[in-house]
């Protein structure tokens, strides 16, 4: 069976519909002083797909994610989000457009409970102003309860009911990763960026996390871009893979295409210089 991946939308082998392009990165170049972190990279992310970014250490994967989430401003190139070119923006403005992300080294609010952490994800869905919140009765309370319900759904989905009221600082690593995912998911993002969601996990935890990622994509139709080092996971989960090395794109396509790409093999296994 051959898939026409250039069509406006197509159906994958496992029956998911992949829609039009959500995020289009055009000729991105990012420099830190004299160091070129990303060199003229273009790729796109389509609605409903799981897109992986892989590459050896220092290839510029995280920098790429930081460009997408607005942390870094690329010197050259354009970021197109949902068909419009994105002007230079602060990260919180990018978040308001419907982007959420998790971090390689967990970035949760240690002093707050799991529930409060997840509720912060609902930030952009709540509009009560300071005075309404000071009075509490009325809009602020109504909003709080409605959004609590959404958060409870996310909590159920990620199976963290038992730690709802626990301060995040007391949790073990694996659960923290899950809470961070919950916080990002609670935002109901149209594009979810995961920076090494499985770093430092054992096989069981990786399986759990993979299941959550697949379910998220399947049930909520969340578009996901992820960075991951575990090749088995990447090849199993993703629809399309971008391979980076030394800031350049060396491969892009389905897992099979990437696996057979000579440049990719060279980058990972090394190449004989003669």
């Amino acid at each position: 069976m051959s898939l026409d991946m250039n069509a406006d939308s197509y159906v994958t082998a496992d029956g998911r519909t992949i829609g039009p392009v959500v995020m289009d990165l055009k000729n991105i170049t990012l420099r830190f002083g004299g160091v070129v972190a990303i060199k003229d990279i273009s790729f796109d992310i389509r609605e409903g797909e799981i897109r992986a970014i892989i590459g050896p250490n220092g290839a510029g994967k995280s920098s790429m994610l930081n460009v997408i989430s607005g942390f870094y401003k690329p010197q050259e190139g354009e970021v197109w989000f949902r068909g419009t070119k994105r002007p230079p923006m602060k990260p919180f403005q990018v978040a308001r457009q419907g982007l959420a992300r998790t971090f390689q080294n967990i970035a949760l609010f240690d002093g707050m409970t799991v529930l409060d952490n997840i509720m912060t994800g609902r930030l952009n869905h709540m509009t009560a102003n300071m005075f309404q919140q000071a009075i509490w009765k009325g809009k602020a309370e109504k909003e709080e309860l409605a959004n609590r319900e959404v958060c409870e759904k996310v909590i159920d989905f990620l199976e963290i009911q038992h730690i709802r009221k626990t301060p995040v600082g007391r949790l073990p690593y694996g659960l923290k990763k899950r809470v961070e995912l919950a916080r990002a998911l609670a935002a109901e993002p149209s594009l979810l960026l995961l920076d090494e969601p499985m770093a430092g996990m054992n096989v069981e935890e990786k399986e759990d996390m993979s299941r959550f990622i697949l379910d998220m994509n399947d049930e909520f139709g969340t578009t996901i871009a992820l960075i991951e080092h575990d090749m088995g996971v990447v090849m199993d989960l993703s629809d399309r893979v971008v391979v980076m090395d030394y800031g350049k794109k060396i491969g892009d396509g389905t897992p099979e295409e990437v696996r057979n790409n000579q440049d990719v093999i060279d980058a990972y296994l090394g190449v004989a210089h003669d």
Partner: protein
């Protein structure tokens, strides 16, 4: 045995969200409120109000304010005394300029003016953090006190350089000036405290509080979820300064009656209130109360015990009082660095099982 949550099931998110989720706590809260409003006013005398209740209530308001800024939003401030002075002088100017308007509005507007000043002095917090911000706010402390001493307009060109609260009444009851009854003083401070504590709780339980705590715990992560750091910090400064301004206005108009910026609102005030929230517990409403109570009541208690019960000379007792309070602060910080609020939480956790350990 008596303090437990068994059988106290929550069937809605509203129930689960309430301030006192455990039934006994809820009952205790209402009893305390009833005693404070319905019983104590009939028994207070001048000594109790001036030595205990009025300073406790007013410092508790200031501590709530500083706790919003430092405990919840993580922005250290040493300018509390200066902001209290802004509240006091704003209240004074308003009381003199608009004698026909109720003092309640004057106090609230004074809080609003302080909020604006607080935001202006909070702007550096966008660039600097931690100790450096503390030093920047210290500058505001000295600047504001200097300003109120230097510009005669603020104290209406009075010869002494002091501001004196004229007599004002609420609902026919005199609340400021020398002819105020003890119970009126007590009640007006209590009403402001209860109202503002309720507002503080509302602000910190909802999205506003989460934004502040997010900025405190990890500002980068907060920004990536959509918290505008500028707005979060400025609202924290505004809310905090409002509380501190109201505290300053009450401190001057109801409690002191006369004030002079350098003497009443000096750097020692800033430190006193900072100590209150550190001892009481950062990021806790209860901690603000506990810290204010500790710092206000402990000296009074010691004085009564040493002079009244043990018959020591007053001057000796006064010096010893400093040493004991200082020692107690160190002791508490070693035993429980997270303050009295945390101590209280741990006690409650223990009580839930007591006397059966399982």
């Amino acid at each position: 045995m008596f303090y437990r949550e068994a059988g106290d099931f929550k069937t809605s998110y509203k129930d689960d969200n309430q301030t006192f989720p455990i039934r006994l706590d809820r009952a205790g809260y209402w009893v305390a409120l009833a005693v404070a409003f319905l019983i104590i006013p009939f028994f207070v005398n001048d000594y109790w109000v001036n030595a205990v209740f009025a300073p406790f209530f007013i410092y508790a308001i200031a501590a709530l304010g500083l706790n919003i800024l430092t405990g919840y939003a993580g922005q250290v401030s040493l300018g509390t005394g200066g902001f209290m002075a802004v509240g006091a002088y704003a209240c004074y100017k308003l009381m003199v300029a608009f004698p026909e308007v109720s003092i309640v509005f004057h106090v609230l507007i004074a809080g609003g003016i302080t909020a604006v000043v607080g935001v202006a002095f909070g702007l550096p917090s966008l660039r600097i953090k931690g100790f450096y911000l503390a030093v920047a706010t210290l500058a505001s402390q000295f600047f504001l006190v200097w300003l109120f001493n230097k510009v005669p307009w603020f104290y209406n060109y009075s010869a002494s350089g002091q501001i004196n609260a004229p007599e004002r009444s609420v609902l026919g009851v005199i609340v400021t000036g020398p002819n105020t009854d003890a119970w009126a003083k007590y009640l007006i401070c209590l009403v402001f405290l209860v109202g503002l504590a309720w507002v503080a709780r509302n602000l910190t339980r909802g999205m506003m509080g989460r934004k502040w705590m997010g900025i405190r715990d990890m500002d980068i992560a907060a920004e990536i979820i959509g918290v505008n750091p500028l707005m979060a910090k400025m609202t924290a400064f505004a809310a905090s300064s409002f509380f501190v301004g109201v505290a300053g206005a009450l401190f001057f108009s109801v409690y002191l009656g006369a004030a002079e910026a350098g003497e009443s609102f000096g750097i020692t005030k800033s430190f006193l209130i900072l100590f209150m929230i550190i001892i009481g517990g950062l990021g806790s409403i209860f901690g603000s109360f506990a810290g204010a109570a500790f710092m206000v009541l402990m000296p009074v208690l010691l004085k009564n015990v040493l002079v009244g019960m043990m018959g020591w000379p007053t001057d000796l007792a006064a010096h010893l009082e400093f040493m004991i309070v200082g020692g107690l602060i160190v002791f508490f910080l070693i035993v429980e660095p997270h303050g009295l609020a945390q101590l209280w939480r741990l006690t409650k956790d223990k009580l839930r099982l007591w006397p059966f350990p399982h």
